[in-house]
Every structure is written in structure tokens, then in C-alpha cells.
């Protein structure tokens, strides 16, 4: 799930033949490149930039520089603005909405078209028309005609929309996108269409076949981003206990059980394939967990292929950093679990092979109650 900044997304769309306004990233000489005022746009990955002061219209290069100066270093939500994009102002007579995403249930892409773009879309998402389109069919002329009909647009719009929808489709497929959203897709006084804003999410799993992809970024808390760096998946919440678990399904079930037993969760971590690797990312993960200042930590793993002693060795390296100063409950099941217990014994961990008892133990250790079922 790699999110692109607006300037990156527009570069990619332009390369696929979708018209975008003339623009450039801000630097001290950039404002002078525009004769008049511009739209000054903070480059952030999260939404609602416009409502939070991240989009400003200016009337002169001097105003542009002062607006950009104010915006740089400011915060929009949890993101600091480090980059600004300047764009020519475009006269607009109509704002449409166009998006393509993957419909997991239908097993094919879905094209969305709305007669009312801009912020109206979030107010009334049901007004947006959509059609699933098989990958090997694509937006044939009838697909566009039907979208136009469902969106309540005049039939004549098909003619100008078809090349844009086709280009958007090609960009979506060729670039392995998970989401392409052009909102608004603006009609200018001469009748042509231009992408005024663009949101793109690339499928990170396809990065290896796209050496030319923009860098983009990932949304998440510092802890979640650190987990991703280490090859795990972290989910930060606001409770007391951190649960480090050997897989996604068991992680969700462990969180369910902790809350059922009266605990609350500070974060959950899916180790994924991390335990199978040679490197010692697990020790770094323990340090990252300690920095969350949880009241207690639970390690819960049930292995079929990996061995428990390998995890215990890496875990003890993490404990040996001395950074984790709260109780650690360890529940390991699978091959070599006896050896794992022996290895961890000197470290003062609470060893509990039964899942429910391990959850009760960590809730107790965190100072919580166990008011759940007996």
C-alpha cells in the first residue's frame, strides 16, 4: 500500500496521457515561473488537506512565496509538510469524479464515475455510479456509455470522457495500482477535461517490476512504520498490553482474548515470516515495543515450520538489551518448545504454554482486572 504524493501521482497520470494542470514543486525560484497567482498545495499523504489549510490560492508570486513559507513545516494531522506543489489556477465549469479500484468480491476492477466531484462526493457517495470491469475487457465504449447513463450525465459526455477513462484504466493496470482517484476531474470552459487532484495507491507487492515508480510513502504511526521496516506488521492502539504474535489470524484472536479477559491492548504485532529469517530484527522489535511504554508484553507463537528455540534465542537477545522493563509473558507452542523454555528461564519471563492462561497472566501483570468469563 504505497501512497503517492499529489505531484508524484500527477506525473504518473501525465505519462499515461491524462491532462493535468501545469505545476512544479516549490523552491525559492519556483513562484516566479508563474506569471500570476497559483494554487499552493501541501504535499501530504492523508486526506482532508483542503479543510486543514493545506490548499491556498494566491494572486501574485510574492503571495505564493509567503503562503509556501507559512505552510512549510506546519502539521496537517500527524504529517509535517516538507514539500509544496505549485499549480496554475484553472477555470472550471463542471467538476466530475472518476476512480478505479479493485473490487475484491467481484474479483475485478471497478470504475466509479460521479456527476458531482469535489467535496460533494464524500457527502453523498451513493450518487457515484460504478461498474465492475473484467481485466481482459477494459473500458470498451459501451462501458463508458453505461457509466455516463448511470451517473446521470448527458450522453454526449461519453465522447470526451472515453479517452480519459481509457487512459486512467491503462495507468491503473500498467502501474499496478490499488486505487486511482481523480477528484475533481474538471471540465474547463473550452470543454476539455483535466485532473485537478489525484490520489494513487500503488500495490507495494508489485514494486520489483516497476523500477521507475515514484518513491511515495506509507501512512502509519512511527511504531507501525518501524515494524514495517523490520518486516513485521504493527497495529498501534491505546491500551496497556503489547501482543507479539506469530501470524495475522492468531494475532486478531489473541487481541480478542485479551480484551475478553479485561485487558486492553497498546499494540499488536504480526511477526509474519520474520522468525524464519537469519537476521536479528526481533531484538530491534523488542526495543521498539519497549518505547511504547506498555505495562506488560505477551509473546504468543504457535509454530509448524519454525522452531520455538530459534525464536527464544532471538527474543533473549531482545531482553538482554535491558530496554524492556515490564513483565513479559511468553507462550510458545510447537517444535522445540521445551528447549525454548530452558533458554528463556534465566531471563525472568513468565512462561505459560496455555493460551488462555497466558492472556490472563499478562492482563494481571499489566495491573488490569480479569473480569471476563471464568
Amino acid at each position: 500500500m504505497t501512497r503517492l504524493y499529489e505531484w508524484e501521482a500527477k506525473g504518473l497520470l501525465q505519462a499515461h496521457g491524462i491532462p493535468v494542470p501545469h505545476g512544479r514543486r516549490w523552491d525559492p525560484s519556483a513562484a516566479a515561473a508563474f506569471a500570476a497567482g497559483v494554487v499552493v498545495k501541501a504535499q501530504t499523504l492523508g486526506g482532508q488537506r483542503g479543510l486543514r489549510g493545506g490548499i491556498v490560492m494566491t494572486a501574485s508570486p510574492a503571495q505564493t512565496d509567503s503562503a509556501a513559507g507559512e505552510m512549510l513545516g506546519s502539521w496537517i494531522g500527524a504529517e509535517r509538510v516538507d514539500d509544496i506543489y505549485l499549480e496554475e489556477r484553472v477555470a472550471v465549469v463542471e467538476e466530475l469524479y472518476l476512480a478505479i479500484l479493485i473490487d475484491r468480491e467481484a474479483g475485478m476492477p471497478r470504475i466509479l464515475l460521479g456527476a458531482q466531484g469535489g467535496v460533494e462526493v464524500e457527502a453523498a457517495p451513493e450518487a457515484v455510479a460504478s461498474l465492475t470491469v473484467p481485466l481482459d475487457i477494459g473500458p470498451r465504449p459501451w462501458v463508458v456509455r453505461e457509466l455516463v447513463r448511470r451517473a446521470g450525465l448527458p450522453a454526449a459526455s461519453s465522447e470526451t470522457l472515453e479517452p480519459i477513462i481509457r487512459a486512467a484504466w491503462d495507468a491503473f493496470v500498467d502501474e499496478d495500482m490499488e486505487l486511482l482517484e481523480i477528484n475533481p476531474l474538471a471540465r474547463t470552459p473550452d470543454g476539455s477535461l483535466v485532473a485537478l487532484d489525484a490520489r494513487v495507491i500503488l500495490d507495494t507487492n508489485a514494486r520489483s517490476r516497476h523500477p521507475g515508480w515514484p518513491q511515495g510513502g506509507v501512512l502509519g504511526s512511527p511504531f507501525e512504520l518501524r515494524c514495517e521496516e523490520l518486516g513485521a506488521v504493527g497495529v498501534e492502539m491505546d491500551g496497556d498490553i503489547v501482543a507479539i504474535v506469530s501470524g495475522a489470524g492468531l494475532m486478531m484472536a489473541t487481541v480478542d482474548l485479551l480484551v475478553d479477559r479485561g485487558g486492553s491492548v497498546r499494540a499488536a504485532v504480526d511477526l509474519g515470516g520474520l522468525v524464519l529469517r537469519e537476521a536479528d530484527e526481533l531484538a530491534d522489535l523488542v526495543v521498539a515495543v519497549a518505547e511504547l511504554r506498555p505495562r506488560a508484553v505477551l509473546v504468543n507463537a504457535f509454530f509448524q515450520l519454525a522452531t520455538c528455540d530459534a525464536l527464544a534465542r532471538k527474543l533473549s537477545a531482545g531482553i538482554a538489551t535491558g530496554r524492556l522493563e515490564v513483565p513479559l509473558v511468553v507462550r510458545l507452542r510447537g517444535r522445540e518448545d521445551d528447549e525454548a523454555e530452558r533458554l528463556l528461564a534465566p531471563f525472568g519471563v513468565i512462561w505459560e504454554p496455555d493460551l488462555e492462561r497466558a492472556c490472563v497472566a499478562v492482563v494481571h501483570a499489566a495491573g488490569g482486572t480479569t473480569t471476563g468469563r471464568a
Binding site: A206, G249, A253, D260
Partner: protein, 298 residues
Amino acid sequence: MGIAIGRDDRVVIAGITGRTGRAAAGRMRADGTPLVGGVVPGRGGQFVEGVPVFDTVLEARERVGATACFISVPAAGALDAGLEAIDGGLRTVVIYTENVAQQDALRLRDYALRRGALLLGPNSAGCVTPGAANLSDLDGRNLRPGRIGIVSKSGTLTYELVDRLVSAGEGLSTVVCLGGDPVVGTDHATVLDLFEQDPETEIVVLLGEIGGRSELRAAARVDRMRTPVVAYIAGHHAPVGKRMGHAGALLASSEEDAPTKSQAFRDAGAVVVTRIVDIADAVLGRLTVAASGDGHPA
């Protein structure tokens, strides 16, 4: 006996010369799975774990009668390996590989549907009919044949459940893991239909999770089934908008949350638990009811 994979299948491993593939071959040889070969382009003529390696799936089918394939190739090669296995007419195709691109998964799903192959994955822990054939990463030494069918998205949750059922003295007809990605080849409902037709399976445990509508489609099947279903949906306390480890486990719509899915199963007459540790008791309890004659609704 069992579904998806059985004693009469002839199994090949795509990527058998890699680390994961070689380990899978060793496990299959150890637990009696009818492993007949591997497929690795350019490695035809070699042997791994005593079975021959072929250059193509069709060659493996002609020479050793391959009917099922376990794919453990790197993510960039999963699309080709999967399409080749489906194109080769194999009945069951497990894509064990994780981090496969979503549009690759769409193409794989499409082609499997068109050719009538049972595609599990990408990112599937596989399927196993204990005592017959093991196309999964479950350790065969922890399994026992029996009357309980399992369909699940998650591998790790399945290990936990299998351990609890086997410890309680029960056994398994077939275990089917669908995979944790947003787009996978087979949904829960399809597997329920297979279990319903299977004389060995007396009860089905369905493990689901937040995100997507696969569980909701399955719930719509349950009230028409003679085979009782016990369901657990993981993620009752998952925060909105975060991917819970599985790329597919993202809570986007309230219809896709754990309470809503659980209620759909309750409404359809399934036994629903909200804690993984309660499943074994629920299964044994339901089997007792079935044995006393009240089990099958008319």
C-alpha cells in the same frame, strides 16, 4: 475421502529446488503424501527428495500423472507458476507464496474459475486431508484423520484450532486454508459446498476474520446445509481502518466487522463462539447434539 485433496491425487511442487519447496517435499515424503515430482524451469532431469523435477507442468502431468500442485516460488513468479498449473488441467492448486501483486491474484482467480480448478491462495497455508495427502504447512505429526472439516483464511489460527481438536481426541476430514490476501481464488462458501457433499465430514468449523464479504456469503449457505457449522470470526476488537496483519483484514465497512459477521452465522443457525479457546468445546457439544438425533433440521 475428504475434499480438495486426497489419496488418489498426484502432487507436484512448483519451486521444489528452493528452500521452501525442498522443505515441503521433505514433509510430504515423511507423512505419506503422494508426491510425484517438482516443476522448475531449466531443472528438468534433477531429483529432489527422491522425486523427479520437470521443466513444465504438462510434462509432469504426462510423465507422472500430476493432479495437484503446491506453489512455493518467489512472488514475482507466482502468476506464471499459477497460470501454468491451472492451464495444465490440475484440479487443486495451492499458492503458498505471499506478497503476490493483487492484479496477479485477479488474473489467477479468473483463470481458475474458467478452467474449474480449485485455487487456494495466494498467501494460503494450503490444504490437508490427514492420512491421505498434505498440501499445507501443517505438521503432519500433529494431525489425525477424523470427522471435522475446517475452512479458514489464516494458517496460524488453524494450527491453534487443530491442536485443540486433536488434543480433545478428535480428528479432521480436511483442512482448507483460503489465504489472507484481499483477492484469493476460493471463498468460504465454495468450501462449505464441498464439505456438505463429503460423507466423511460430520461438522465444519469456519474461521473467518474482519474485512471482505466471504464470511457473509458463507453464512447465507449455512441454513440450507445438513452439516452443522461452528464459526469464529477473529478481530472483534480490531480498530477501524488498520490492516490487521493480513492485507485482506482491513475494516472498511461496518458490515465487514466481526460482530456483524458473527450475527449472520447465528441467524443462519450456526454455533458461534467469540473466543478461539471455546471452539473445541462448541464442536464437541454440537456433535453430541447431532448424535442424540436433534442435529439435522428437517
